[in-house]
């Protein structure tokens, strides 16, 4: 009666699996804690309450979202899968950062480098004065004090002390 035993086991397995499927989440291991839910919720924004992260948003819609995260965690979904689910459902604006990082970081980086370059050029220009500038320098002798008078005085006092 080997075949009937196999049938029995298959039936049993099916029953167990079905029980797992429809049964309470506890059957699939521990219920995700609030902290595990919040860790993911922190990174999401619900369109209903813009600029409030999901983990602290008190609205009903956000509570539902947190329940979805809990359910998906209980199903064993990974963080990336959960985020992907939310993006598919509600669009990329649920993420706390634009998905295309290259664009979002590149533009300010280029602007800052450009600023740094301009400042560097400015330094160079100031350090090597042109002819006209040195002429205006002659016309204005006090324009270049040897040192900050305050520091000079301070240094002097300190020297006296020694």
């Amino acid at each position: 009666m080997g075949s009937s035993r196999i049938t029995f086991y298959v039936l049993l397995l099916t029953l167990v699996l079905a029980g797992l499927w429809t049964g309470p989440a506890s059957a699939q291991g521990p219920t995700p804690t609030d902290d595990e839910v919040n860790r993911i919720a922190k990174q999401l924004y619900c369109p209903v309450c813009e600029s409030t992260p999901l983990d602290v948003c008190p609205t009903e819609a956000c509570r539902q979202w947190r329940d979805v995260i809990r359910t998906m965690l209980a199903e064993g979904k990974s963080e990336a899968e959960i985020k992907q689910h939310f993006v598919e459902q509600y669009g990329v604006r649920v993420l706390n950062e634009p998905p295309n990082r290259l664009v979002s970081y590149l533009v300010p980086a280029v602007a800052i480098l450009l600023g740094a370059f301009m400042l560097f050029r400015g330094f160079q220009m100031w350090m090597k004065p042109s002819i006209t500038e040195s002429r205006s320098e002659d016309a204005k002798p006090e324009a270049q004090p040897a040192q900050d008078p305050y520091i000079a005085k301070l240094e002097e006092e300190l020297k006296k002390r020694k």
């Binding site: 819609a61 539902q64 509600y90 669009g91």
Partner: protein
């Protein structure tokens, strides 16, 4: 200022730099202007032809057995598009009226009701649909594309589109009676 008279000719801002700065400033202002005009715009206005969109439907809430509806396929019928959500309290006020209106117009075969579920979760949405006994086609607003197209300001909002796909009326906020719904659909059926 006294020095400027002493020294040789002074340079102003080079033309190319001026051009770059102006282009940059105007570009910036243009972006803000576009953002502003979007923010100022209300919903899609009556008289506009509605472009095609695709609404996937919840199982059990299909339209003619199809699990997805293309808006263009509904030409020749009056379409009532209702944005709602299960977390939206005012939506509950009109749910029964909408369903009653649907039951009234369904036999004519000339009117289609589409429920677009805005920023909602499916299990909660199903509870809501069951609670109010809603039977017309309903589906999620995936990636909020449809609501963005209609530029909805909140839920509930209802859009009445005539047989040619032209928007005829926008209801912001819930209906208080079935007559209000009839008053918008009936003229479109003539």
């Amino acid at each position: 200022m006294t020095e400027s008279t002493i020294s040789a000719p002074r340079r102003g801002v080079p033309i190319w730099a001026q051009i770059i700065i102006w282009v940059f400033l105007v570009g910036l202002l243009a972006i803000v202007a576009v953002g502003l005009s979007r923010a100022q715009q209300g919903t899609v206005q009556p008289g506009q032809t509605i472009d095609n969109f695709t609404l996937p439907l919840f199982s059990g809430y299909e339209l003619d057995g199809k699990s997805e509806v293309n808006f263009v396929d509904l030409r020749g019928k009056v379409v009532v598009i209702n944005f709602w959500a299960s977390w939206c309290k005012p939506c509950e006020q009109e749910a029964a009226e909408l369903q009653a209106a649907w039951e009234e117009y369904q036999p004519t075969g000339q009117v289609v009701f589409l429920g677009v579920d805005y920023v909602d979760t499916e299990p909660e949405a199903r509870v809501y649909l069951k609670k109010f006994g809603i039977t017309y086609a309903n589906g999620p607003d995936l990636a909020t594309r449809i609501s963005q197209y209609f530029r909805i300001k909140g839920v509930p909002e209802t859009y009445f589109v005539d047989k040619n796909g032209v928007l005829q009326y926008v209801q912001v906020g819930p209906f208080s009676s079935i007559d209000q719904i009839r008053a918008q659909i009936d003229p479109l059926l003539k």
